[in-house]
Symmetry: C2
Subunit: 424 residues, 2 copies
């Protein structure tokens, strides 16, 4: 008879899964691209569904394309589940750890518990959330499950919605209308809690040599599409005092935003990740520059202050370069706090596994846990990212740390999923 | 019997042509888009060929897709021609005057001379040059005719060359190999001179109330593709001292280049017309920012100084933001001087037409005349652009000024094409 505290996942089986998954959507420089609902994502979903069935778990999906494997601990697969989640999708030419570690480790924990014949108080469900990275809508799957989708058609044109519906259709789930996605919502009493294992994507664990991070909160984030509108003109012949160069103004604004937002909000972050220029010819003064800007801060009220300052700056620079400008709030993700119960359980799991000094930290990346936290007791476990590199083919975590993280997840699950009994 | 000095073009027929042409590739906001060798350009070429044949001129084309109408004044259409040129192609959502005025006026001058039975010493040829605006290669047609194509395959990949060949194929002229374009070259002795009527695209004539500009020279121009290479990373989690943000560096560089190049080179111009960012996600630090930058100056040696300064600045800012960088010279167009003979003839035509005070000026835009000037005696006539607006749907020239420009072109032609005789 195995003492539950001594139960460990199968590290080789976990590694085999991880490597199979990393090959799906693999890029020439060792990264992966699996945009949500792309062919590569569909391939990863099929791979996951096969793994779920091979493990003898109950395969389940919902109206927004979330896919789960359920280890039935009670008398019914329809009884409340404790969710262990992450995502199979990635950004463009990203790393193979982001999201994948959480899915593979969750699956492996359920296999381990099933093999050991452990009986807990609730069903356990490993879940792949649709579109965490936000090709269509950031954290679409967890928003759908928790009833936090908002009006998906509000800021989208008919063409985009049509393409979205068509992409969903390929998952084999949604057939007629984008609004059927709202049927993915689950009553909160059907969910017993949520845990997610993820790479840190920053360098705090790696720099300090710590192995496990216990997430206390997740930063709030707002994304704005700021568009400068000037006037196209022949670049050679338009007099200087007549120029209204949208890209010149945008360059000055981006430059200033980086400098002053960093100074004014030491705990916050500004990023301009994309700029699109029209008409985009070498010999034409740009008439339009559309900038995708985000601010992040662990403190919800500071997010709002940063937004206010950013938009003030945008207006100042538009005026300075005689440009018109528009702002569209693309997305707001409120700052989230993790459950103390879950944090305690993760720390106890660390003690049981002799992990010295787990580090309490804030996540500067968004995660499905951020959405889940408003809905059910939620916890997150971080493992180190070497040099803090992420969203990049060079993203890397030592394999021993992945295994340790999976075991911390397993032991946390055993304590929070309640009523653990040794197998007979 | 009409005195040749009293001969005038048919303003109504010119206007009808101009309006028909403006409708080809017309955009919803009153502009036009006729990229070289696009469907719209092909439609404009077919329209032009029909007009040439309707006028009883000899239709001719060459291996690079230049299309001409020849008014045979000698015993053969193969005898030397005096060329009157411009272009039917436009930039994206451009104005309807740029290029079109020169083509329509050239055609109208030949019709007027033919109807009047005027006999000159050389054939007259109105020519549409392929791709003046440079979708494929700036001033492709005039480079081909004068033997200044260079190695077209040097900086292009096989895919681009294939697409280029396919686009040329649609003109019905080039069939097998891009190198057949080099057969478009004409021996200089086959060309008696070149004249081009064009809108100014700047505001000097309009501001001063002058009606005709006599171009003395055309600015030199160099276009560089400057690429900053940083490192992609999660925008929320990458530590500040680890960030190598290509767009942040690019914004700072563009901002500085505008300011200091303007201060240091008062007669010169800098434009950054396009920037492309990778991977281009709101939550990823940009790893690549490719900027299309051009410098212009009427003095050829100052163009080189501006290039040197620009690239020095690019290196400084790359270092400041810990980026790698690359430079590619996309194109160099040397500064060109117009022929004194042609300038004199334009001024005499102005006197004959009672145009007060024609303005001697430099062109800050590139024209096929820039290529032709090294090859044959070349002149350019400018007419006012209202508020100097160009490459924009709001580009506008008063119709009376178009008619005046066409008559100055006619009278200049009569004096430079030599041996004018009154009709019997």
């Amino acid at each position: 008879m195995t003492n539950l505290a001594d139960l460990r996942i199968n590290a080789e089986r976990l590694r085999a899964d991880f490597e199979e998954l990393a090959a799906i959507g693999g890029t020439p420089d060792g990264g992966v691209t699996r945009h949500a609902l792309s062919n590569e994502d569909l391939e990863a979903r099929a791979w996951f569904a096969n793994k779920v069935e091979d493990a003898g778990l109950v395969l389940r999906d919902d109206a927004i394309g979330n896919t789960s494997g359920i280890l039935v601990m009670t008398n019914s697969a329809a009884a409340p589940s404790f969710l262990i989640g992450s995502h199979l999708d990635t950004t463009q030419n990203s790393g193979s750890y982001d999201g994948a570690v959480g899915i593979c480790a969750g699956l492996e924990c359920l296999r381990t518990l099933k093999e050991a014949g452990v009986q807990l108080a609730v069903n356990l469900e490993v879940i792949n959330f649709t579109d965490q990275e936000g090709v269509w809508h950031s954290m679409l799957g967890s928003r759908g499950l928790t009833g936090r989708l908002g009006d998906l058609t509000a800021h989208r044109d008919a063409e985009t919605i049509g393409a979205f519906r068509a992409a969903l259709f390929r998952t084999g789930i949604i057939v007629n209308d984008i609004h059927e996605m709202y049927q993915a919502v689950r009553p909160p009493e059907q969910v017993a809690g949520y845990l997610e294992l993820h790479i840190e994507q920053g360098g705090r664990l790696h720099r300090t040599g710590r192995k496990i991070g216990v997430v206390s909160g997740i930063v709030g984030r707002s994304t704005h599409l700021i568009t400068y509108l000037g006037e196209a003109g022949h670049s050679g012949t338009t007099a200087f005092d007549m120029r209204r160069d949208a890209l010149q103004g945008a360059a000055a604004f981006i430059n200033e935003a980086h400098t002053t937002l960093r100074e004014m909000f030491p705990g916050g972050i500004f990023n301009c990740g994309k700029i699109e220029v029209e008409p985009g010819a070498f010999n034409t003064i740009p008439s339009k520059a559309a900038m995708l800007c985000e601010v992040r801060h662990p403190d919800e009220s500071a997010v709002a202050q940063m937004e206010g300052y950013l938009l003030g700056l945008a207006g100042d620079f538009a005026a300075r370069f005689r440009l018109n400008w528009q702002d569209k709030l693309v997305q707001h993700m409120p700052a989230a706090e993790m459950s103390w119960t879950m944090m305690d359980a993760i720390e106890m799991a660390c003690t049981r596994l002799n992990v010295p000094d787990p580090m309490l930290l804030t996540s500067y990346a968004g995660h499905d846990a951020q959405i889940m936290a408003e809905y059910t007791p939620t916890g997150m476990i971080f493992i180190p990212s070497v040099n803090g590199i992420s969203h990049n083919p060079a993203e890397f975590t030592e394999w021993d740390d992945v295994v340790l993280g999976a075991n911390v997840l397993l032991q946390t699950l055993i304590s929070v999923a309640g009523g653990g009994q040794n197998p007979a």
